[in-house]
Subunit: 316 residues, 2 copies
């Protein structure tokens, strides 16, 4: 509920998605009675009727405090109690984060949760965090984001993740005073092996030399949405191309999929003790499918346990 | 001098560029004696030997204060004295800005100079400022950037430029406290006609509904370089495409040029009383050519006078 895509569209798409998953996965669906009315039963679906919805334009904290019976609040309670293994939402981002922070314990050593998005580059996907959870931040928060990014990439099988700090130039003196401080702190990670490769500019990120890009929630959100925007812009221009053989069509389809951010499973809320996935507010059935498959991968790889072990190694 | 591209490459390219310009334009070239030695004379070139160069990695303010005989300092003095009509540089951005601010008067009503870059979108180019001159900023500076952006687009012939504020969501409450304040102040521009269209996210910018995008120098620089980075990434992927007919080749060439930021004339330093153009540090002869042609257009359209008139109208 509460996303820009109508719940009906997502409901209609879900049976086909569920039936085509490699394994049987059960779904618990939190929606208002009106939406649930006349929905056909499905052996893998449990419907939980809720009384309220947090809208996109509501103030997150106020909404979460007031609307105890909203879909997001009740779903988060289910997650905390272990009744569901992971929570996917396309609703109000701030409300999702506020609800997670109020309901779930933080991971040991982490003071702020961050949204992590995996982005395509020329070589390998890069984990970018924070892409929107924290507008205000301190040095220690960005260090913790770096550690969570490292832990996430290790859980994806990357043995020695390389970290960069998003900045306006490669030199240590570049950027705001807080970024200069973060730079000096991150250098300390390089005692035994080279982990922090320094400041990196937006244009160099897509070369794919890094595994983790550290940034604050404001800058990271601008970065992510700019990348999405120009990718969509170019995709549209490519749609003009109608000529060419089968091979060409194939390349263009691959390229467009590669650039289509709805192909990626959504952002992971890192730092809380639970798997919470934030999808785009305007997510398509295809994006929902990718999000579900991505979430299943996280569960199969025991992501949360792995990230806890990694954080323990890094912190202590 | 001082750019990442060697001065020899630029020197070698300049005669052909100068000979092919639509009108005769004379060039004053500021370079060290070593670089000028053995350079063939050209009827349109004047060589000014300098003793020092500001390097890319030097602290801007220190360098400008110490190196009074650097190419940038001397060229800026020429600009102030009217010996040259415009100054193009691919060197240290901070030093160029510091030198301009120390040498040239500010335009009436403007307290901070900003770098303005013109970017391609689906519909029409958008003027983005600031893309890197100010890391710290106050509300009033962003309002002045908006006014300069409007003035610039009016000087390009856009009758009613539309302005957006780069932010992480469309709602007035989004972003940092300072952005919320800027939003409220920009709304005041809409007394007689709709000028400020509100907050805009990075992904919506490229749809091309706006003429001016207002942002601070840090965020704007991240925005610009991210756009450049992903455009370069996609261009590389497109290079794989070898099949297809003439029509296809043509579309791809147009698209690649459209996405190639070296096709754009460089960023304009707005707010100082002089035409100062900042090119990429790694600018190619092609980019130099575009930069020169773009600068000539600014001169032909009497850009500086027009922007002064616009600012006077807007301020008083």
């Amino acid at each position: 509920m509460g996303s820009d895509t109508s719940p009906e569209i997502l409901f209609d798409a879900l049976p086909a998605i569920a039936d085509n998953l490699p394994e049987k996965v059960s779904f618990t669906l939190f929606a208002t009675k009106e939406i649930l009315a006349d929905r056909p039963q499905h052996p893998l679906f449990t419907f939980i009727p809720v009384e309220e919805v947090v809208a996109m334009d509501e103030d997150p904290l106020t909404a979460i405090r007031k609307k105890k019976n909203s879909s997001i609040s009740i779903a988060m309670k289910y997650l905390k109690e272990g009744k569901i293994s992971a929570l996917i939402s396309g609703g109000n981002t701030g409300a999702l984060i506020a609800s997670a922070k109020l309901t779930l314990p933080m991971l040991p050593g982490i003071k702020r949760a961050a949204l992590l998005a995996l982005l395509p580059t020329e070589r390998k996907p890069i984990a970018v965090l924070d892409v929107g959870a924290n507008i205000s931040f301190k040095t220690e928060h960005l260090i913790q984001f770096a550690l969570m990014g490292i832990a996430y990439q290790k859980s994806r099988g990357i043995a020695n993740p390389k970290v960069g700090l998003l900045n306006i130039g490669p030199e240590a003196i570049k950027g705001t005073p807080i970024l200069r401080e973060v730079y000096q702190k991150l250098i300390e990670l390089n005692k035994e092996e080279s982990i922090f490769l320094g400041n990196i500019e937006g244009k160099a990120v897509f070369r794919g030399d890094l595994d983790v890009l550290v940034t604050d929630g404001f800058t990271g959100n601008i970065f992510l949405k700019t990348a999405e925007g120009i990718a969509a812009f170019i995709s549209k221009e490519l749609e003009q191309i109608e000529e060419g053989g089968e091979k060409l069509k194939e390349i263009l389809t691959t390229l467009k999929r590669h650039l289509d951010y709805s192909e990626y499973p959504g952002a992971i809320l890192c730092g809380v003790n639970g798997i919470v996935i934030k999808c785009h507010g305007d997510f398509s059935p295809q994006a929902l499918n990718n999000s579900i498959r991505g979430t299943i991968r996280l569960l199969e790889h025991d992501f949360l346990e792995k990230i806890k072990i990694q954080l323990a190694t890094l912190f202590f």
